[in-house]
Amino acid sequence: MKCNSLKMLAGAVVTLAGLSSGVDDAAAQAVVNKIKERGYVSCGASQGVPGLSRPDEKGYYRGFDSDICRTFAVALLGDKDKIRYVPLTAGQRFPALQTGEIDILSRTSTITYSRDAVVRFVWINLYDTDGLLVRKADKITEPRLLDGKTVCLQGGGSLTEKAIEETEEEFGIAMKKVYYDSTIQARDAFFGGRCDSYVTDGTAAAGQRASVAKNPADYDIIKVGHAAEPNGVAVARGDDQLFDVVRWTMNALFWAEANGITSQNIDEKLASSSAEVKRVLGEEAGFGKPLGLDDKWAYNVIKQMGNYAEIWDRNLGKDSPLKVERGLNALWSDGGLNYPFPWE
């Protein structure tokens, strides 16, 4: 998610791409029609990030980002498996959108000024923060106690490095930093006992605790730094229809969670709830018309994929080995940053 060495190159490519992207506008107008014609959504995926998107033994993509993409397949085509994932490196993801190789990008992409000028970010699907892995046995429960402790981290001016500096300043402590070329080396050094702590993205910290640690319960994750990295879902520029479909599908996920509607109870809710629920879930004719979708599209999305909380829990949260806290990704009513737009 953060600075790896390919990103510099990717930046250069993206800038170049920006110069030529005007050409694609007219062609991109009809992506929704193209998707309906060919019968599947083409979605950008990673080559394997735990909890976010990774192909399993059967070649089936699993993870939060992959499931978010399936919701769009349900909205557009009514079937979560009418989707093809295109594995992309960090450098390829934006050119892939521009050239139409993929329709939608849902692959841990931080929204930035220069990227948003090249593709069109629709919505933040995940706020990532920086996490510090520590051993429970060391009894480090808050950043203050890290004074004089060693921390393994990736060097070279990464955002995690900044988070450590902020923490030192905030608590008036000094940590001994041990720098590595890559976050993987830093991780292995930490689990090998070289350092008292190890800092990386919050979801990655949880993923590594689950997959690398001999006993995940021996480790804690402490939140450090103030940067929230907004990871977004993106489409190509110049296609308002697909933009709307993606935006309102995301909205349906948050709205369903806020109203307590899950894939399990959706039919009961539909029978017993307010006029708004009935309308959004497709009881009212013409609800899907503004987006060019089936009236039952939101119902299908929640029924097949669940609401935002279900997608989170299954891939990153309590039902997964990663056990990532919702944190900023909770609804605003639970102390997070997410909330649905009104359906009026």
Binding site: L6, L9, V13, L16, A17, S20, A27, Q47, G48, V49, P50, G51, R54, P55, D56, E57, K58, G59, Y60, Y61, R84, Y85, V86, P87, L88, T89, G91, Q92, P95, A96, Q98, T99, G100, E101, G207, A210, S211, V212, A213, K214, N215, S320, P321, L322
Partner: protein, 363 residues
């Protein structure tokens, strides 16, 4: 073994032999103070390193237990991960129900490679056989004509590595020969063209050629004219290999004495028959070690396609390691992948060795 031939009484032979052999071994290991010191040092190193390595590799290792927690508890290697994920490691993200197809492809390629190393099968028929096989492989991997369609984005693992290696080198070799001949041509346009191509490809890192092919090309070519991502990577690898092979072959051409050319010309042989019958057979044999070197480097270079999002063996390994249910035994996974690469490279090295021994260089 000379000690065996010493004349001695028959009944004393076994003990004497054992004794002499021991004596010779002792002399070999401790003959001089330096030898003695080295023997002790290396012996100590083996004693210190080998037992823990064996313990990690085999004795304490988890071999087939399908439970990920068994690996978390074990102190040894986690081979059960490699075993449980073998389908994913070998075939990447190829759809599970269709995995028999890449499996057949791998077997066919390996069998045909095995068949092709026999001198008896070096006929024009072999070339036709390869072309037919490649068409069969493309159909089997990609589908169509009755098979479910599988886009190249879903190809992965060993078949990708094998196809990239075989096709890239298979095409690069004749192209390399042509480039080498062109570079020695007396026609300026041909010569300069070859020099520019070879030098510009050799002057660029393979990584950047792959980047241009996979990321830049889609931006300046319209979608209809753009070849598939897999094909683009394949072309990039082929051009790269051809430039290097051309220089190796040119080295061989320069080793052929002028008399050979003159003799061929005196026989009235035109250019192409002269190259085909007289010059190239000798030139190529001279540079077999360097050719083998280039080919082995290319086998391993195919793993660089992971930077353009193709699931070769190494990308498949990384994807498998991203499973949060399992601890990620990176060392074991990469040992497994390394073993495959070693088997491929070593087999080719043996083949090159066999070619060298086949006969004396006939000048």
């Amino acid at each position: 073994m000379k000690a065996l031939s010493l004349p001695m009484p028959a009944e004393a032979l076994p003990r004497r032999v054992r004794f002499t052999a021991l004596l010779r071994l002792g002399k070999l290991l401790f003959g001089t103070p330096l030898n003695g010191l080295l023997t002790v040092l290396f012996g100590a190193m083996l004693v210190v390193t080998v037992p823990p390595m064996l313990r990690w590799l085999i004795i304490d290792a988890v071999l087939f237990d399908p439970d990920p927690d068994a690996c978390r508890e074990a102190v040894g290697a986690c081979w059960s991960f490699v075993y449980a994920k073998s389908g994913q490691l070998l075939f990447g993200i190829y759809p599970l129900a269709e995995r028999w197809r890449p499996a057949i492809v791998c077997l066919v390629i390996l069998a045909l490679l095995g068949w092709s190393v026999r001198p008896a099968s070096w006929t024009a028929r072999l070339l036709a056989l390869w072309i037919a096989t490649l068409a069969f492989i493309v159909w089997l991997m990609g589908g169509g004509f009755g098979l479910a369609e599988v886009p190249t984005a879903s190809w992965g693992g060993l078949p990708v590595t094998l196809i990239l290696t075989v096709v890239a080198i298979g095409i690069a070799f004749p192209v390399g020969i042509l480039l080498a001949l062109a570079r020695r041509s007396t026609m300026p346009a041909v010569r300069i063209g070859a020099v520019v191509l070879i030098e510009s490809v050799r002057g660029l890192p393979l990584l950047s050629i792959l980047f241009v092919a996979s990321i830049m090309m889609p931006l300046f070519l319209p979608e209809a004219l753009l070849p598939d991502k897999f094909v683009r990577a394949l072309v990039a690898l082929t051009i790269f290999a051809a430039a290097y092979l051309a220089e190796v072959i040119r080295g061989g051409l320069q080793a052929i004495s002028k008399g050979q050319y003159e003799a061929a010309a005196a026989l009235g042989l035109p250019f192409w028959p002269m190259q085909y019958l007289i010059i190239l057979p000798q030139a190529i044999r001279v540079v077999i070690p360097a050719l083998a070197n280039t080919v082995i480097v290319m086998i391993k270079n195919t793993s660089l396609v992971l930077v353009v999002g193709l699931f070769d063996l190494i990308s498949s390994g990384k994807a498998a390691l991203a499973d949060p249910e399992w601890p990620s035994p990176a060392a074991e996974t990469f040992l497994f992948i390394g073993a495959i690469f070693f088997a491929l490279s070593f087999s080719f090295a043996r083949f090159a060795d066999f070619l060298e021994r086949r006969g004396p260089v006939s000048h």
